[in-house]
Subunit: 286 residues, 6 copies
């Protein structure tokens, strides 16, 4: 159960409105690695954790914080849209800034949301739960989280460089710092679990049931041997259970597949049309 206070976790006020930047900033609110994604990803992982304890609590702590970040970004975007000018094409002739606003702002910020933030990314794609995961396996999921915080901080840093507004930069410097913490925290949680489980997810699948002969092999399927120079191509494997090896000229292990014809009620191409003696001589299919 949640409680809300009206105060923001951190201040969120630009020096000046800028509808073009408002459009860009949507990316880290409603994009693939925006705050909606991390909030819902962590909360669903927390709710689905089968077992109580520190991991569930950590997920709920962090997911709840991300809700506050959604709020900060929504507030910032609404303020960047403050008094967004009502511009038309013929005005652009007089003023290139008008031209930039006409092209660089998101028309839905005026038409749809009435100068409010939207649950969408910087090109207007609406947020979708396709972006998130909660698998029930925490080592897998913490890796998803570390990725999300890495991509997220990367995007915020790029956005930091795209503006001179001190108010915006001030808020972004908060988010960047929090992503530093969150990367550190997931690295720490991953280290704990890897110490208990080793590195291969899931750890409980019996190793003898996989094809162990190819479990540490790099197949050189793109011509050129540059990849043979990496740590992954020789020496003990990272999980300590095997030895990396490199196959320079990989060959198929399987055969050419032949599918049986479909039954008539499927109305696939009839065999008679599919082949003639000249083009389909394989006797096994006759």
């Amino acid at each position: 159960m949640f409680y809300h206070v009206k105060e923001l976790q951190y201040r969120s006020k630009p020096d000046c409105p800028d509808p073009v930047y408002a459009k860009k900033l949507q990316e880290v609110l409603g994009g693939q690695f925006g705050e909606i994604s991390v909030a819902l990803q962590y909360l669903f992982q927390g709710w689905n954790t089968r077992g109580d304890g520190k991991y569930r609590d950590l997920l709920m702590d962090t997911g709840t914080e991300e809700l506050a970040h959604i709020e900060m970004l929504a507030t910032m975007i609404a303020r960047l849209l403050d008094g967004a000018p009502d511009v038309e094409l013929d005005e652009a002739a007089q003023n290139p800034v008008i031209a930039a606003i006409l092209g660089g702002s998101n028309p839905q910020h005026a038409i749809v949301s009435g100068l409010g933030a939207m649950p969408a990314d910087s090109v207007g794609n609406r947020w979708t739960a396709d972006y998130i995961i909660a698998s029930g396996n925490l080592l897998a999921d913490f890796r998803a989280n570390l990725n999300a915080e890495s991509q997220g901080r990367l995007q915020v840093c790029r956005l930091y460089e795209m503006t001179d507004d001190r108010g915006v930069k001030d808020m972004l410097s908060w988010l960047i710092a929090r992503d530093t913490m969150h990367q550190n925290q997931w690295v720490a949680a991953i280290a704990e679990l890897e110490a208990k489980e080793n590195i291969v997810v899931p750890s409980t699948f019996p190793r003898e049931l996989e094809k162990q002969e190819v479990a540490y092999t790099l197949f050189n399927l793109s011509a050129g041997n540059a990849s043979a120079a990496g740590r992954w191509a020789s020496g003990p494997s990272m999980d300590g259970c095997g030895v990396f090896n490199y196959v320079e000229h990989p060959v198929p292990f399987g055969k050419k597949p032949k599918l049986n014809p479909a039954p008539p009620y499927i109305f696939d191409t009839p065999l008679a049309a599919l082949r003639g003696p000249e083009d389909y001589p394989d006797p096994s299919m006759k």
Copy 2:
């Protein structure tokens, strides 16, 4: 540029058709962490790598292999659908297996794809590029890759348990082994990059520009202190640049936001309607 040979990387033939399992197996072909996702994710990362060398080659090697896995799964699914029965509701009264097939198979396998595999997941959602990322920052992206291989192997292991078909299990044991390699390989590549860049992505953003006072802080935003027991709550941070600290009772740093009214041409709720003296007494907004 690519070349194709007709032989499969590994054999892909079930002992018996099973349209219900065919539906489930779609998850690791066309789902969020299926083979289409990893193939296109690695290839796009490779094509976008700005710089040549072993990482680009590794991405192209692995992405090219994943194309072969799409092929193996597509072949397996087509064979699981072989001669899929044409069943109707009234037949279910006689035979619970008919009932299971009616409910548990994907009707699009008959109606749309004519007993072929589809670029879709186990409930029929079509594959979307929302699932993948290529950011230009390889440390971030290798973490995405490690996550994808972790989620992918987890799903294949779950599917392994859902069938007794020896042919299916044989092929899955190949995919599980390859995911073991791919997890090991991304761990190795991540270790290399972390050794050069430290762990926080992106490494090149100046640390003094973030709010360093909250860069190693865990805010206890979900009641209960279980999360204080983890490695992430005290001691030196994982990046070696700070000390973790834990804030048991976090408070807002910002103020309650107040947004300015919208201009008239936006037709938001008029201020006169939004408030009356009784319900909006705050003098600062008058």
Copy 3:
């Protein structure tokens, strides 16, 4: 900014696991009118309200409560999936319940979420922000909210009838009651705003700028006069600004459109191909 407590707003525990019902219950968690939709719709409306006061507070109160409902449903679904059986097609021959589970459960609950709730609806469509709206005009948005609570309560009532589990019914009876309140509350808020603004949204667009001669007209475009019997076809209009009238045989007010040909660099069908003297005799286009 938000705070979380571990306790649920209301208890959420089924008497027995039931993976088939778990799939259905997803509808009111992650479907078009599920709890994710109302939570994010109200929060975005609150964050975007330009002006402070009771409406913003009401939105934040209610949006925050809906987060608790997401949590209750996620918990319930995880428990309905408890110990979900690992069933295969050949087992269905022995037991029709196995057949029902094979067909009626969501395979992603096992393969993807590891027996956890998903941000998806009852057929597996992932939640999308296409479902929600925050327009900046509160009268419009409260109507969206009243609709959402109406559809939501309707769906929960239908789900109430689909189970005999007392634990599930107990929780649903909580959600149904809360939707009763929320319908009442949006009706009340709408009544307040309509009293100030009249009923047509937006109220501030000058009436003389619309084609007033058709602002209260019902065009009978589907043969048969049944619709002439309603309140909307005669008498004073609901906004008190006009008189309803009914046009039994509506005719076009406009002309047949003719579009100019496209410029050559668009490579549309060339005019010469588009027409010949025989099939395009209209002189006005020559």
Copy 4:
């Protein structure tokens, strides 16, 4: 069954082409509350009405009219794109209007649709049936319709302000007037049904089966009491069946949930990894 005449319901001809405005106008053709949405929403509601009579007829009348509005907007957009210039980046240096066109127009209007309208919104999202509803409960659905007409008229009014073209404004003034009628008409239909059913949807669910003790309660979950000032917080409820009450300090009614561990074939995090004595001391889970 439908018949088409070539004449438009109302004229749809701009004074001048304007590809930037064409992009914006797409919102009310193919956006969330555009004409495709209302047309298909009303038609599906009509087709699904179980019972004949005036409501079904009204839905078919209005849905059929909305098809004509799609046609008018498609025609207008094609004409706004007439002779759309073929501009390149280096030409922008000479002319800010070129810059505005390069940025503000939708490239798919040239590349994909060949200067034709698209079933998409103002940022290019393709129309999706996620936008619409037909629930079988007409009171619920008429509320959806009133919302759609409110959002739709709001968006058209905003678009009216974004152009000086008299031809465009003339057509929009038609659509605005029709939305005035449609808002009035759904208000009238809702009033009729509410008079018969009272206001809570669905009306036929037995009230004693819901948790009546919280059916008229406002929980103050966002700090601050501004919402206590509204009609919804005290006095008789809008449905006349209860009394509103306000809970200033809401507390959880449920307990902290604990989920059982998953079975081994799900490969969730193993319990041994999930906890240690130090971080998981709760005896009830041992």
Copy 5:
């Protein structure tokens, strides 16, 4: 502008309800090649035709008919859902038909649409305008139409085989016949345009501007020469402008690409991390 009559183009009444078949039949209502797709595809093509005449009229004739087919299918699906039973998991033990209904029906038909048809396909994916095209080039678009009618008739034929209900089969036999006409009609229209424009779309792009040396070449990129046996590998090309030729061992025409590093404000992997002397020796990149 459109007019509607209440009578159906053809009768649409099953002998018996069948919720499992109702789910399947959704495919040809709201699926990729269902009636919504062809209706909106033809109407948008018609509205966007730049030029009047017989092609535009044909598109409007056919698009208007498809609206009637949506109506027939919506009616049929609602009737197949008539009195859909309210079944629960424990009842399946008694009756395999219950098991089949639990698994094989679409839960949204009860929970969301209240026993009405939905704008969705047979697995519940909502209809999306991603399915359709109107390019402004009629030869291209008529090929899209011929494809749509081919896929559509194929799916209806498959559905015809999946039921014994005479009422359903009767209606499907209407749709199959209409698809026969529509395939014939688009073939005729294509033949007309090909006679005027030759077969390559677009016909107005100057042939000398394409790389003519590879305009009739089949590259054998999948090992094995079976494809060399086809009409497309030798002899005069179908457009009469060239001669087909077959390249058994295709080689790259381009070079290995090298991308320049990104500027610092993009925060891609730094060059220093990307390479070391050992793994990136190419002097051209130093």
Copy 6:
């Protein structure tokens, strides 16, 4: 199974960077008819072909080539984004080219992909498998392929006109030529199959089971007789099995449908509310 070589099928290097054109060029990489679509469409068709021989080989040859085209376009886009400038709104005042870049470039090319190509179209919609088809019926599918190559070549030709960059034009002239081949090739394959199967798909459905009386009829459902002038309205049908006929005044063959009321557990509008004696007098429903 696939092999990759680092060399491109054809060179892919612009004379100059141009981020605005990079955005546009995305259409033919990740749009509805871009290279991802044709690659995956052909490969899935190939893998699903039930029967071996020249058609399967042709599909694999061509699908494999399209992978090389994805690679060429990804490389070109990355190079068009080379050193993309970091521009802000206030700089636009000085330079209309800045304004054009601000508006005309895709912000995700900087924020998300770090100056790399994306699996998305020219307005940022991510690629989706909704775009493709593999039905198991090759005549149907080759028509889909011919359409895809027609739309694809059309789009590339339009893009060719939108740039003066000789490097870009050089690469596009390769793609245009390949699309010429691919159109020719699918026309040839279609001709072969039509010679064996006649033109109506599927060819194996018994003609006597369709309503033959309307299998060659054009219904004039859009007023005006222009469409009567076409080849499709009179004379022998294209399949040689019938005679086209034209119905100037088509009438319904079916009756007005009446749906039965829903059972109470569906909570649709109650009949008592749906009708009164005055508005629902039809005795057949009482």
